[in-house]
Amino acid sequence: MRNDYQNPSQETLLAMYERMLVIRETEEYLGAQFRAGELPAGVHLYIGQEASGVGICAHLSDEDWITSTHRGHGHFLAKGGDPYAMIAEIHAKADGVCGGFGGTMHVADLSRGILGANGIVGGGLGIATGAAFAAKLDGKGKVAACFFGDGAANQGTLMEAMNVASLWKLPLLLVCEHNGWSEFTRSEVATSGNILDRAQPFGIPAQEVDGNDVGAVWRVAGEMIEAMRNDGGPGLLLTHTYRTRGHVEAEINFLSQSYRSEEEVASWEARDPLDRAVALLAETGMATEEILVVRERVKTLIDAAAARAQAAPDPDPALVKSMMFSEVDAW
């Protein structure tokens, strides 16, 4: 029986809102920490794009796979990654989900199907295609979702992935999070035509959606993923969204000129995905107090995670030697 993805239930909506809040709170904290000089490296924040990752990952279980990007905190948390383990990772601590070896651009949790954020733009395309092939071979209705940006859509491996996934009917959801920018280059300057159309020559169904509307993302993604689980082959989903923070936190320090207008940012802040989720919840009749309870809970959770991460010990350098290989020690 086919599910009805017309309306997320109030419960689902609330869960998604909470997940978005977890991302927002975590990243507000990380941004502040970076600006305070407390992080070893710059962070690429997902703030403003939360609905995209959360609306999609709401349909995925730990058995499904995702690959992510340099802007990967949101995907990690949306897919169920542990905020403490991620924050500790970004603080370069031993408790980090990658033991302090990966850092902000490489957060991964294989136990939850999170194959990792990736510092190579487009680097997830091949990995996700491979995971989708694995899912097909497993034969259990699993899927692989590949998150990538509008800038990454110009890497040729996108075409290669679409070709193979279409030929082999792989359960690969290609999620292009279109935030209008790749670093400091406007999408129109780098991208010819509409990315959505790129799926057409391969006969791959493609949909676009308001990426700041978690309900809409949830609906469209739900349909696409369900089709995939039933041997439906790949799909391309374009979520229109915006990063209201910089490409990388504190870019202002090294850029000599600004690259976008304050109006542009403000117009997107006015469409904040969290505010919109609150509005959707209100439509379902949820009381403001109930929402405030969630907010408090998340704030407490992240505050505690942050405090614990700060206090966690550094990783042990003796571990480095054994980290390049799982078996032979060859350095």
């Binding site: 294989l110 990995i127 799982s326």
Partner: protein, 327 residues
């Protein structure tokens, strides 16, 4: 012991391993019909899920190998000629070699990437590279370069059973060469060099197809009263430094034969190890017989002039031995 051709030995290994472990998946361009013969018959035997021709898109294929492995399968990716590994280099260098570390050890990557390599057959610059120095530098990838049919079988099996990525290189154009393959289960461990010939006067470390040339050279040298010891490292990552050093301790002289371009070659690495850990043992300069820093020209006469030869090995050794007092 059975006599098998190099390529048959690899083919045997693939059959046996795929039979043993249903999670091994072979994919690549034209692996079904099998141009070299190493993957011959596998498609018919194991079916389309496990043996699959791909489109020409190396950049994706190497990435797919990573994803398949991360998701619990054991991919074997055939890249045909090693130059095409450059086309798929990104996922090898930025993902495959790094993800175990980057994920803090979470991601196991039991991947075997195989390809033919090397010059000597007028395949010209884009079908003759000897890329192992690059893979050696990346870290995180084991590198196997068998010199004969038996090792090819045993090293291939070790590669596919390992939980780490391995590059398995077949010397191009030597697929037809016959060699002894031990009967029954035959595995060759990584990081264990083989002493192909014992000798007291000079150590020749020879890699892959160079072992045969070294052997020819050793025979010619023996006729001149010079006894060469030949070491075949078999894997370059891990590298069996101890066996090499033990041999130098005996012979006090080292020549390395490597068909890679010289600069930052495996030969240079081994020379560097000798100059460090083996310095006190050496009584003569460490010599490298390599391809000068040039890609392979097409004309046989040009290619021969840069490709290592047994003559070059002989003259290098003779100069070393005769010069010993001059140092």
């Amino acid at each position: 012991m059975a006599k098998r051709r190099f390529i048959q030995a690899i083919n045997d290994a693939m059959f046996e391993e795929m039979e043993r472990d249903p999670r091994i998946i072979l994919f690549g361009e034209d692996v079904e019909i099998s141009m070299f013969g190493d993957t011959k018959g596998l498609r018919d035997h194991f079916g389309p899920d496990r043996v699959r021709d791909t489109p020409i898109c190396e950049a994706l294929l190497t990435g797919m190998a990573v994803g398949m492995a991360a998701a619990g399968w054991r991919p074997v990716l055939h890249m045909m000629f090693s130059n095409f590994m450059y086309t798929g280099f990104d996922a090898i260098a930025n993902q495959m070699s790094k993800l175990h570390l980057m994920t803090g050890g979470q991601m196991k990557l039991p991947i075997t990437v195989m390809a033919g390599f090397g010059g000597g057959r007028s395949t010209a610059a884009q079908h003759s590279d000897c890329p192992y120095p690059l893979f050696m530098n990346l870290g995180g990838i084991n590198v196997a370069v068998p010199s004969n049919a038996g090792d090819a079988k045993g090293l291939f099996k070790t590669a596919v059973r390992s939980n780490d990525p391995a590059i398995f290189l077949e010397p191009g154009g030597r697929g037809g060469e016959l060699g002894e393959v031990p009967d029954g289960e035959h595995l060759v461990s990584f990081g264990k060099a083989a002493i192909r010939r014992e000798g007291r006067d000079v150590t020749i470390v020879a890699i892959g197809a160079m072992v045969k040339l070294a052997d020819q050279a050793a025979k010619a040298l023996a006729a001149n009263g010079v006894e060469a010891e030949i070491i075949d490292p078999r894997t370059l990552v891990p590298l069996d430094e101890e066996t090499i050093l033990a041999s130098i301790a005996k012979t006090r002289r080292l020549v390395i034969v490597d068909e890679a371009r010289d600069r930052c070659s495996a030969a240079s690495q081994i020379a560097a190890v000798a100059a460090d850990r083996g310095f006190g043992l050496l009584k003569a300069p460490v010599k490298r017989v390599t391809v000068p820093n040039v890609c392979m020209p097409y004309a046989p006469v040009l290619e021969r002039s840069v490709y290592p030869s047994s003559e070059r090995i002989v003259s290098t050794v003779l100069a070393l031995v005769s010069n010993q007092e001059a140092i």
